[in-house]
């Protein structure tokens, strides 16, 4: 997340002397050995949009002392590799190393001939332990996560089940700390599928392993006053070139999100309204129990602070997931509620739906401006995980943020900044411009070696609409 002053300083040096360290780690992330030899080439990717965020490829000529040769492939299987790339500080001769991350080794390859003795290692970050690439498959059952389960507890349980004990799970109190919905994990899925579904609850959160092997679940920088991590002070030193793509195809200023249609076993048909209470008869409901789910259609009467009554049972209020605020119901609409002991939790319409438009007249993409309405309907796929209107609203807001705001896509080619990370907010004054612009890094591709450069792909940064 941060860069040290020394790392920053050596990145600005006109002279760089590159050094490498490749450690073998055991399952506790303890160093158990170092791969000796000369590193011939290395390349690294860090892509915030990928399940496995960090990957790398290194090719080295092992020294004859190293015990880690490909023919002993089984030695690699339960090990991790941690790579450091260093630059010598010209003032102190100290090598300032940057941690490039902890990786699993995927498909090591060795070439040995009269002219070659090289090992090539494909590296994938620790998320591969969850995606099924190396491990992480669930054991052939359908899994259920229930509404109200603590999100942090679920994540910790998944991590510990897979042998990971270092984490930061930092959820804002304003965001979902508990599951607002049931989540079903299908047979044949992976732990990553489970994490991914959880990640979709808090829509602007990210989930990744950092370079120290610490799992993070935290908010993506999206506020008005995010710290700029790289600015012109550094770009002056390392910027080589850039290109900008503006993606008109993705531009949408009217978003409609449609979630999953609920299966309703207990349908109350057309309710009647009396005072602030909707009443109905559902023969299949013989008792009131927690998580009882019902559906019904409101009559031609909207109620702002509604109660719902089934048969002769007590009438209970309809509230949000926290059981705090009343949720108003519209007339002639099919709603789904879940009983929570003292209130009905509002799950939304039979099919959660939310529409949002760019209504900021200052925006060049103002929906009532010259651009007009550019609509997109989002449904199916991941959207099937949206089971209430609140989630549909959150998702729609996020989609508007990503599809209407962040359109400028810049790729900067620069002298490598080894410590740069994705989802960092950067400032840059491009050579052909006078205005400093903010971007957020989405992916980084770095080629090592003396001729290596770095491509940083970043998107124009705007604070999140909801903020």
């Amino acid at each position: 997340m941060s860069v040290t002053q020394l790392e920053y300083n050596v990145a600005k040096q006109n002279n760089r002397e590159l050094h490498y360290k490749l450690y073998i780690l055991n399952h506790k992330f303890q160093r158990v050995d170092e791969i000796g030899g000369v590193l011939l080439s290395d390349s690294w990717t860090n892509d915030s949009t990928s399940d496995i965020r960090r990957t790398g490829t290194i090719t080295l000529t092992p020294d004859d002392n190293t015990s880690y040769r490909v023919q002993e492939g089984s030695k690699w299987l339960d090990k991790y590799i941690q790579v450091y790339v260093g630059i010598k500080d010209i003032h102190t001769d100290e090598i300032i190393y940057t941690n490039m991350g902890i990786y699993l080794i995927d498909n090591p390859n060795q070439v040995y001939s009269a002219t070659d003795d090289t090992i090539t290692l494909q590296l994938v970050d620790l998320m591969a332990k969850f995606t099924g690439l190396r491990s992480g498959s669930l054991d052939g059952y359908e899994y259920q996560l229930f509404q109200g389960d603590n999100i942090k507890d679920i994540i910790i349980a998944i991590l510990e089940e897979n042998g990971f004990y270092d984490y930061v799970i930092n959820i804002d109190a304003d965001d979902y700390t508990e599951l607002p919905i049931d989540i079903t994990i299908d047979i044949g899925a992976t732990y990553y599928d489970m994490l991914s579904k959880i990640n979709e609850i808090n829509i602007n959160y990210q989930m990744y392993f950092d370079v120290n092997g610490v799992f993070h679940y935290e908010k993506i920088p999206s506020g008005y006053n995010e710290q700029v991590m790289i600015d012109d002070d550094m770009w002056q030193e390392v910027y080589i070139s850039h290109n900008i793509n503006t993606d008109y195809d993705s531009l949408k200023n009217d978003i409609i999100v449609i979630g999953a249609t609920h299966d309703i076993d207990n349908y109350g048909a057309n309710a009647t309204a009396s005072g602030n209470t909707y009443s109905m008869t559902i023969p299949s409901v013989t008792e009131m129990y927690t998580d009882l789910k019902i559906g019904f259609t409101t009559p031609n009467t909207a109620i702002n602070e509604p109660y719902v009554k089934i048969g002769s049972f007590t009438a209970y209020p309809v509230k949000d997931e926290y059981g705090v605020n009343f949720v108003p119901l519209k007339a002639n609409t099919y709603y789904v509620l879940r009983f929570k002991g003292t209130y009905w939790y509002y799950l939304g319409e039979i099919t959660p739906r939310y529409e949002i438009k760019e209504t900021n007249p200052e925006s060049p993409f103002y929906v009532y401006g010259t651009l007009g309405e550019v609509k997109i309907v989002l449904s199916g796929g991941d959207y099937e995980n949206i089971t209430n209107e609140d989630l549909a609203k959150s998702r729609a807001e996020w989609e508007l943020y990503t599809r209407c705001r962040l359109l400028d896509n810049i790729t900067i080619t620069n002298v490598p900044l080894l410590w740069a990370d994705v989802n960092w907010v950067i400032d840059i004054t491009l050579p052909n411009e006078t205005e400093k612009r903010k971007y957020i890094i989405k992916s980084i591709n770095t080629t090592g070696g003396v001729n290596g450069t770095q491509s940083i792909t970043a998107m124009r940064y705007y604070p999140y609409y909801a903020n």
């Binding site: 160093r31 010598k88 935290e218 991590m229 002056q236 030193e237 080589i240 002298v415 070696g449």
Partner: protein, 705 residues
């Protein structure tokens, strides 16, 4: 301006019993005048500490004992501007608290003296909450605190406590050093041991007689000869020492040396410093058969009615096939008793036999013999003795003329009697020596028959056959180890004044003959003073180094591999000598000057060598025989194309280890086509003084770490 969201900086594990500084950065935005630190338990985000500090600084100190060791926390900061506005929460940074680990040397304390050129340091790592170790290094400093050597990185996956050991070698005698270890734990705790001062004193001796390196200029090598003699003694019972400086052989006791030496029965000098226990045979030197032997006996001469003339002496008798063939007696001495401190000297050089006995002691006898002795305790030979105590049979009728002539034999025996030879016999090999009836302080046998009588105890030299000082040992050899204590000998080399040795030769030891060898060392520079060391080893452990030195001087350019060495002398030179390094240049848009990026790991020389292919006769004179030269050319061709890595060294002191990357080509000088000129190039692949490089390039067949 608004407050930017601060960035909390990462935090290694620390000991909660000490103050700890937590930091953040915040660049741009409003001036930060206050910050708030919040620490939560990481598992459930329960807030355990919060503190607001009015400060322009970007950190806060958490007081000692606020947090609990063994706990996993996270922290974040908020900042405030002058108007009291609060920033968003910073990122949350996880951290552990652990009790400070301990790293303690367990077999050395400050001020200790190490009596060896190497030492195995034992170290223990421990940590209360079982924090695992990431890596460990040992560091060796000289007396001025300058780092002179460090260990490779040491790893361990064990749970604490963990014991480590590491051997540093190459200590210089009479020097002060410091040892230190530094470990880093899995979660970033750094723990340092105390820096222990110690002194090295191992009584460095000139050991040229054990290891002798010779510079051989024309051959381009150092020849190393060894002269290690290991002679283990055997006693009938546990050896008993007097003040750890003399061996007590009471009545019935004996010491036998029966291996590790072999010398001519008619050419040696034996010198013995000793005290008598009783009269009789005290030393027997014998061959494969006891029938061939030389006996040395303590005797006394006198008559009961003439106590004034009771004398002590030694007699040497030679036997061949069981038949006595000579007798030789020493001079007489007075005052023979248990107080006597005797020096016996026996020089046998063919038919010239000289036997001297001296008594150097007249002080109070401090020996406490608990045995019956016929050497009267504290009684002088000139006191009255009963007849039965005195060997009155001894007479010297043939050479001495009788009792009355005793006075003509001076006390040092220079006028001693001539030897009496009974038969002419062939010499035999003495392979056994047995001592008895004495308290022996020093025993020496040399093959140098020019050795004169001396009261000074000798040290080993190249002529020494056996020497034992009985300082708590009965070893007769020139090394402090016995054959049972060594299963391998290593030969090591280093430039003089440096500390790192490399092992250049190893030899398994199964017999005494294995201890000596003649090694030719081609893989070293000219014009350098090198030290060589013989290192006895047992089960992989190294013991005291036996060191000698030589300065090299070679004439020519020498090309060596693990099969051969060939010299270039005429027209020998390097037409080119290039260094290759990986360098990249990147040109940032806003910079006048580029970024120059180098990979220091890739740097090597490519050297081109040329020279005349010459042959020499046995007198080292140039031989222009065309046939010989053609053979030599073929020799070069096959040698340089055999695929083996090469070492090239020259008279300037340059040396390069590498592989031939431009195969040899030949041209001729002049029109007579007699002398070809060879040209080839080598690309550097390692260092001649790197153990692993030499191993990896096939020069040594072992990797001695």
């Amino acid at each position: 301006m608004a407050l930017v969201t601060p960035i909390a900086l990462s935090m290694n594990a620390f000991d909660a019993s000490e103050n700890q500084t937590f930091s953040f950065t915040a660049s741009g935005g409003s001036q930060v005048v206050k910050n708030k630190l919040t620490i939560r338990r990481n598992s459930d985000d329960v807030i355990v500490y919060t503190s607001t500090l009015e400060s322009y600084g970007f950190n806060q100190v958490v007081p000692a004992n606020t947090l609990v060791n063994g706990t996993y926390y996270n922290f974040y900061f908020n900042t405030y501007d002058i108007e009291g506005n609060e920033s968003a929460d910073s990122n949350a940074v996880p951290f552990y608290c652990f009790t400070t680990p301990t790293l303690v040397f367990t077999n050395i304390t400050t001020g200790d003296t190490i009596e060896s050129p190497q030492y195995k340091f034992n170290l223990r790592y421990n940590q209360l909450e079982d924090e695992l170790l990431n890596e460990l290094h040992f560091y060796l400093y000289d007396g001025h605190g300058k780092l002179i050597k460090s260990s490779e990185t040491i790893y361990s996956s064990e749970n604490p406590p963990i014991d480590f050991e590491y051997t540093f070698s190459g200590f210089t005698d009479k020097e002060t050093y410091y040892i230190e270890a530094i470990a880093t734990t899995l979660h970033g705790l750094v723990v340092e041991s105390n820096r222990i001062e110690f002194f090295v004193s191992y009584g460095y001796k000139n050991t040229y007689f054990l290891i002798k390196p010779y510079n051989e200029c024309i051959e381009g090598r150092v020849r190393v000869e060894t002269n290690i003699v290991s002679i283990d003694g055997i006693t009938n019972d546990e050896p008993k020492y007097l003040d750890d400086s003399a061996l007590i052989l009471e009545q019935g006791d004996w010491l036998l040396w029966d291996d590790g030496f072999n010398f001519n029965s008619q050419q040696f000098v034996l010198t013995k410093w000793w005290k008598p226990v009783e009269l009789g045979t005290t030393t027997v030197l014998y061959g494969d058969s006891y029938s061939d032997r030389i006996e040395i006996s303590l005797k006394r001469y006198g008559v009961s009615n003439n106590i004034e003339n009771i004398k002590g002496y030694i007699q040497v008798d030679g036997y061949r096939n069981g038949v006595k063939y000579f007798t030789k007696q020493s001079n007489f001495i007075d005052q023979l008793n248990n107080n006597s401190e005797l020096i016996s000297y026996i020089n046998i050089n063919g038919s010239n036999i000289n036997v001297i006995l001296t008594n150097k002691n007249n002080i109070v006898n401090h020996l406490e013999f608990n045995v019956k002795s016929n050497v009267e305790f504290n009684r002088l030979t000139d006191l009255y003795l009963i007849d039965s105590d005195v060997d009155i049979s001894i007479r010297f009728p043939y050479t001495f003329g009788g009792f009355n002539n005793f006075g003509t034999r001076d006390m040092l025996g220079y006028n001693a009697l001539s030897a009496e030879f009974y038969n002419d016999v062939e010499p035999f090999d003495i392979v056994n020596i047995r001592l008895m009836r004495c308290i022996v302080d020093h025993f020496n046998i040399t093959k140098n028959t020019d050795t004169q009588y001396s009261e000074t105890k000798p040290e080993w030299d190249l002529d020494t056959i056996l020497d034992c000082d009985f300082n708590g040992n009965i070893r007769g050899g020139n090394v402090e180890f016995t054959l049972q204590q060594v299963d391998m000998i290593k030969l090591k080399r280093r430039p003089y004044g440096t500390i790192d040795w490399i092992t250049i030769f190893k030899k398994d030891i199964t017999s005494i003959d294995d201890l000596n060898f003649d090694y030719k060392d081609y893989y070293l520079k000219s014009n350098i003073k090198y030290e060589y060391a013989i290192v006895p080893c047992l089960h992989g452990a190294e013991f005291n180094y036996i060191i000698s030195d030589v300065t090299t001087k070679f004439n020519g350019i020498f090309v060596s591999d693990n099969t051969d060495t060939i010299r270039l002398i005429g027209g020998a030179l390097y037409p080119s000598d290039n260094i290759t390094q990986q360098i990249g240049i990147l040109q940032p848009y806003n910079k006048q000057y580029p970024k120059v990026i180098t990979n220091p790991n890739i740097r090597y020389r490519t050297l081109t060598v040329t020279g005349d292919v010459l042959t020499f006769d046995e007198n080292n004179a140039l031989d222009k025989d065309r046939g010989k030269i053609i053979n030599e050319r073929k020799h070069w061709e096959e040698f340089l194309t055999n695929g083996n890595p090469k070492i090239i060294k020259d008279w300037n002191g340059d040396i390069i280890l590498g592989k031939i990357t431009t195969p040899p080509s030949f041209s001729y000088i002049g029109n007579d086509m007699i002398i070809p000129v060879i040209s080839f190039a080598i690309t550097e692949q390692g260092q001649y003084d790197s153990q692993s490089d030499m191993y990896n390039n096939g020069f040594y067949s072992f990797l001695d770490k």
